[in-house]
């Protein structure tokens, strides 16, 4: 392949060819298996970057819109919409909720001062998650009014091969914990979160260790690494 062809393949896969340029290149692709193979190859490699996007939980409302758009026929409900009615961990969440008042976490003022400047959004609730054993701060959660959550790890969690970290919250003890998403790298991440009631003071947040892909039951199944309760910033 010539340098010019490599450049063209690259620009096309990066989404930088538009309108007539893209159409002309696609006609070339249809004629040249070599060029088409180069596009496929580069795409396959670059998908590793797409895989770094933190997967969100499947949104049942989005499915309802798609299902409605399919036209006549029976409505289908994806099976994961029906979480198991109960498990052992559920009860322990109820107990934690009861303890909320005793473990409310106070916040450093300096941290908040830094996060309210400029065009940044202000969180509705903030929680410092403490490690289960040593009660050391392990992560900060900022919860926003639009259900999104910003998670800032303070500690390097040990994640064994084939496991992920899953973030949970308990908006309502009656319905049980809800997953906000999974992550594997200790970096600040933004989770869009499912459609939930506005975060409340005293709401529990925790991170557990789960099998790759997240908890198979829709409820926490692994050990709790850190947990804490939300408090509204002043």
């Amino acid at each position: 392949m010539t340098q010019a062809e490599l450049e063209r393949v690259g620009e096309y896969v990066l989404g930088l060819l538009e309108g007539p340029d893209a159409e002309a290149f696609e006609r070339q692709l249809a004629q040249s298996p070599e060029l088409a193979a180069a596009v496929d190859r580069l795409r396959r490699h670059l998908h590793a970057l797409d895989d770094t996007a933190m997967p969100l939980p499947a949104n049942p409302e989005l499915w309802a819109r798609i299902d409605a758009g399919l036209g006549a026929g029976a409505t289908v409900v994806p099976s994961t919409r029906l979480p198991p009615p109960d498990n052992d961990n559920h009860n322990s969440w109820m107990r934690f909720a009861g303890l909320a008042a005793s473990v409310l976490v106070a916040l450093g003022v300096g941290y908040l001062a830094g996060s309210t400047t400029g065009a940044q959004r202000a969180p509705v609730m903030v929680a410092v998650l403490l490690s289960e054993d040593a009660m050391q701060p392990g992560a900060i959660v900022e919860a926003f009014a639009d259900d999104s959550v910003r998670l800032m790890p303070l500690d390097r969690f040990e994640v064994p091969e084939g496991r992920v970290l899953e973030v949970w919250t308990l908006p309502d003890p009656a319905t049980g914990p809800v997953s906000l998403g999974t992550f594997s790298n200790p970096q600040t991440i933004n989770l869009a979160g499912p459609d939930l009631p506005p975060p409340m003071s005293g709401q529990l947040y925790e991170i557990t260790l789960e099998p790759a892909g997240g908890s198979p039951t829709g409820r926490p199944t692994g050990p709790i690494l850190v947990k804490g309760f939300a408090k509204a910033p002043l």
Binding site: E7, H45, A48, P55, G69, V77, Q187
Partner: protein, 184 residues
């Protein structure tokens, strides 16, 4: 012999069933793939509602033309990823439909450089892509990542990195060409 009820069905088989009009297969495919696809689209479009719109359109089109998926040419996940990326990029380029406040837009541009770097950092060190991106010089790597991960075009990438448009175009050309040579 017992069968484990919830054993995942490969997405390739689900698409095959979708092509035969099996609506529950489309629901299963949605369940397995949509969360990842919305996340990818959201990194490009910045807004969850638009990201979901992109994924919705891809699933609706899939219902009509699942038979165009050719499993000899790649995985179902790869095919869906390309479809959602293309749809999201078209929405971005079509800009008129996306109104960001000006101040928000400036802040978003700042975020995008961070998103692009975070995606690069999150690649496994065993991945040849990480190795080959690392081999590029920093400016070219950042330019390529900005365009691929966050969907910026030449002009937006040039503004984000504060360089002239011509410089950006040449960084990207040389960057993606060198990347392919390293990957091959």
């Amino acid at each position: 012999m017992l069968h484990w009820m919830s054993e995942p069905i490969p997405s390739e088989d689900l698409i095959d069933r979708v092509a035969h009009g099996d609506r529950s297969a489309l629901a299963k495919l949605f369940e397995a793939e949509s969360g990842r696809l919305v996340a990818i689209a959201q990194r490009l479009l910045r807004r969850r509602d638009l990201a979901e719109e992109a994924v919705q359109e891809v699933f609706l089109r899939l219902w009509g033309k699942a038979e165009s998926f050719d499993k000899t040419k790649g995985t179902a996940r790869g095919w869906l990823t390309v479809s959602v990326r293309n749809r999201a990029l078209n929405m971005l380029r079509d800009g008129a439909r996306i109104d960001y406040e000006d101040t928000e837009k400036l802040a978003e541009l700042g975020d995008r450089a961070a998103d692009a770097r975070a995606a690069f950092e999150a690649l496994s060190i065993k991945d040849s892509l990480k190795h080959c991106l690392s081999a590029l010089d920093e400016k070219k790597r950042e330019a390529v990542l900005l365009c691929y991960v966050t969907g910026l075009n030449h002009g937006e990438a040039a503004a984000t990195m504060r360089v002239p448009l011509g410089t950006m175009k040449s960084w990207i050309k040389r960057g993606v060409a060198a990347l392919q040579e390293c990957l091959s």
